[in-house]
Every structure is written in structure tokens, then in C-alpha cells.
Symmetry: C2
Subunit: 253 residues, 2 copies
DNA sequence: GTCTATATCTGGATAGAC
DNA sequence: GTCTATCCAGATATAGAC
């Protein structure tokens, strides 16, 4: 597992397109940098009643430490295998201190999962451009999704691998969130078919395939790192791979 | 998680093609049925020195029970979360009895992983037809891989999700095994390109994409079950999806 | 707010009766 | 071959000093 970048996207950012309307990774990254600190400040404010520490600067600093360390240790060996003693010694915080930030190990898990889902929802939503053509929408969404999962890779990997450890309610949310993303692609495919830009290929199966290819990027990150494939190279490959399957032979006027 | 079929493929089977050279799921399944009992008999004979029980019929019966229960419980909640007490009460065997079949929880994990890898290797190898065209090879391999993972879904899902819990050596084996499958597809792609059947698309990325689509079938089995998509329908979709990206416009004479 | 010390529990593993 | 009883390491969680 690679070291975890402490900076992440700002969920409220504007879209970052160049002249050709194509989002580039660096621009995307720079335009809307959201430090892990900002994410943790949000988490703090939301959970202020359950968190015992009241001073924001202190709390935020420690939350950054806690989440950062949790993601690192868990993505190495699994959340369940990581004991709170591990977390304590790796973070430098005592057991007692940890318990001022969450009331149980399960709550810690939930906090991370919840925040992850929220950011995805926001970022994807912010980049939906109702006016664009289906083909543009599809390309943008693939890029945005890949870039987002690239910068927040540890979060996504964690969410993916630890779904099983959630309780029923949280688990359902996680599944809903997954199906929602797929639905967005599904709808774009249908719209493209209505307009004659796409062939009559099965939209459900195709949306599933797109999702699978997107997930491969963050689930098998080690493989792509080892092969020195950049996220932008993968994005371009994915777009051409998908489009060759769905683009109509003769594009409409 | 669906109930686990107790019957699996025989790894030494002949290929099961119809007139058109196309492997159909039912034929594949019937031709070479390997009951879970047979797999467990193999495991028993291989581990006879470490297994304390000496009577084959007893041992095999209990091993079936143990593996079946382990896969069911683990795929629900994770191997680590499943305590041996859970396994004991769900299987009806006492703690002491369990420990006559393996010497530690980790050994149980290894036994399952190892057997899984062996069967895959055998089945894929048996279906490699050196004489066939790249296009035929690709189609056959996609179908065989999907059919195999369909019948042994719990095994594959388990292997996929529990890789993190393996020790270094076993983990490396698991990764090697994954990369090997990808390599097979990679080589077929290169061969097809040399013969002019395939376009000059990036073979490494394409092989990775094929692997991702194959894995989606058994990792997201719940999704496809819910949508009532058969393995054959998925196979045909996948083949056409992949081929549209790699087939040369004008196939060679 | 943070630490140390400790209570309490859980789960892997084993010994020895049957 | 299987079971019960038990041991003990290690984990979560808390209490109370500082």
C-alpha cells in the first residue's frame, strides 16, 4: 500500500475543463484541493455531540491522525485485524485519547465510510452537466470518477474492502451508493441510444461493465502502480475501450 | 450470499464443445461434475499426515461440512470475523473435533486457498487449445473462466476477499496466480495482433480489463442474481463487448 | 485533554475424559 | 474420533490520576 496523500479534493469545486472541454488530472487536483484537515473539520462539526474533545483545532489535528493511521493500517491488513492498540501506538495517541473521538471501533468504521460516500456523491453531482451531450457526459464522468478515486484511493479501497464489517443499515447504504453510480451511467447510455449516438447494446450490462472497470483502478492500484500506468492513460484507454463497444457506426448530425 | 452448491467441476475433464465449437454451460457442468466430496477427498489425501483422523469416509464427510460451513460464514461476515466457535456451532462439530482436521485457523484458510488455485489452474489449462485461432481461444477462455467461477463462486469470492489475511508467501502465490491468468489473455491478444485479427490496442491494459470483467461476475454475484442475468448471457455480452474493442475492421483472409 | 492502569470479555488452542 | 472443560493471549472499553 502506498503512502496516503494527505490532500484530497474539495467536494464543492467547480468543474475544471480545458479548452477542449476535457478535464485534466492536474487541473482537477489543483483547482479544488481539499486537505484532509478540511474533511476532518467537517466530520468534527457533524459529530460534535459524540466527540468529547471540544477545542476544534485539537480535535481536527487528532482526527486527521486517527483517520490517516486507520486507513494505512487497515488497507494493509484489514480493519478487523488492526487492533486499537496498533492504532494507538502507530498514531501516538493513547487508548484513552482515542476513545474521546469515537465510542467504539465500529463507530470509527462508520465515520470513515459515511464521509467517503458523502464526498463521492458531492463530487459526481457537481460534475454532472445536464446540457452536455451523452457522449460528453460519459467521458467527463469516467474521468472525474477515476481522478477522484485516484486522489482518495485509500478511502475507496477501504470502503470497498470493509463493506462486510458494516451493520445491516450501513451495508444497505453502501449498496445503494454503488447502484446509484451505476444508474447514472445507465441513464446516460439510454439517453445516447435515444439520440442515436449509441448502439442498442444492453444498457444495464454495459453500465455494470463500466463500473467494474472504474473499480479496478482503485482496487488493483498496486498492479497499475507497478506497471507505471498513469490515471490519465487509464482514463483514455477506458474511454476508447467503452466507446468502441457503444458508439454507433455513423454518428448523428 | 446464496446457498453454496455442493457440486463442482471435475478439474480433469475434457472440453465440452457443441458443433459450433461453443462451450455451453449445462454441458460443461454435466460433463465434468466434481462433487465437493471429491474435492475434499483430494484435500484429505494430500494432508493425511497433518490430519489426525485416519478413516477416509469419516474425514471426508467432516471436511465437506467444515469447508462448506467456512465458506458460508466467511462470505457472509469475513473469515476473520468468523470465530471457530461460530464454525463449531454452525457445523455441529466441537472445537476439539475441528482441531483434528487443521492445526490452526490460518491452516484452514490456506487449505481452502490452495485447493482453489489448483482447480483453476487445471481447468484453464485443460481448455487451452494450442491449435485454435486467437479469436477462438479468447472466446473459449472467457466462457470457461466464467462457467468455472459460476459453479465455484463461493470459492472464488472467498479467495478474492481473504487475500489480505494470508501470510507473505501465500499472498505472493495468490498474486502470481492472478497475474498468470492475465498473462494468458495478454499472449492471446499479442498473437491475434500478429495475425492481423486484432487491432493494435494496448494488450496489457486490455488483458487487465478482461480480468476485471471476469472478476465482476463472481465478486458482484448478488447484483447479477438480483437482475436475473444468466452466466451465459453475461458471457455473450462480455465477448461482444471485448471483441468490439479489439477486432480489426477487416478480418484477415 | 491526555495518560496509565485495569476491568472485562472474546477467541484461539489444548488436555484429558469418554 | 469426539466432546467438555480450561487455559491464556490479546482485544475492547473504562476509570481515575494528572
Amino acid at each position: 500500500m502506498t503512502a496516503i496523500a494527505k490532500e484530497f479534493f474539495h467536494p464543492m469545486m467547480e468543474t475544471a475543463k480545458n479548452q477542449a472541454g476535457k478535464i485534466c488530472f492536474d487541473t482537477f487536483k489543483q483547482m479544488a484541493l481539499l486537505s484532509m484537515e478540511d474533511i476532518c473539520r467537517e466530520i468534527f462539526r457533524e459529530n460534535q455531540e459524540s466527540i468529547k474533545i471540544k477545542k476544534e483545532p485539537v480535535a481536527v489535528r487528532n482526527l486527521v491522525n486517527i483517520f490517516y493511521t486507520t486507513l494505512t493500517l487497515s488497507n494493509e491488513k484489514g480493519f478487523h485485524t488492526m487492533s486499537l492498540r496498533d492504532l494507538s501506538s502507530a498514531s501516538g495517541l493513547s487508548m484513552g485519547a482515542l476513545y474521546s473521538y469515537f465510542s467504539s471501533k465500529d463507530e470509527l468504521l462508520e465515520m470513515i465510510q459515511k464521509q467517503g460516500r458523502r464526498i463521492v456523491g458531492k463530487v459526481l453531482f457537481d460534475h454532472l452537466d445536464a446540457g452536455a451531450s451523452p457522449r460528453e457526459k460519459m467521458r467527463t464522468l469516467i474521468r472525474v470518477h477515476l481522478y477522484l478515486t485516484e486522489v482518495m484511493q485509500p478511502w475507496f479501497y477501504f470502503a470497498y474492502m470493509e463493506t462486510k464489517n458494516l451493520d445491516k443499515t450501513q451495508r444497505r447504504r453502501s449498496i445503494e451508493s454503488e447502484l446509484f453510480t451505476e444508474q447514472v451511467f445507465h441513464d446516460i447510455l439510454l439517453e445516447g441510444q435515444r439520440q442515436g449516438a449509441y448502439t442498442a447494446i444492453d444498457a444495464t450490462l454495459t453500465a455494470g461493465a463500466i463500473k467494474a472497470l472504474l473499480q479496478d483502478w482503485y482496487v488493483k492500484r498496486w498492479k497499475y502502480s507497478r506497471r507505471r500506468i498513469s490515471v490519465e492513460a487509464y482514463a483514455e484507454f477506458m474511454i476508447s475501450f467503452v466507446e468502441s463497444a457503444i458508439l454507433a457506426e455513423t454518428p448523428p448530425a
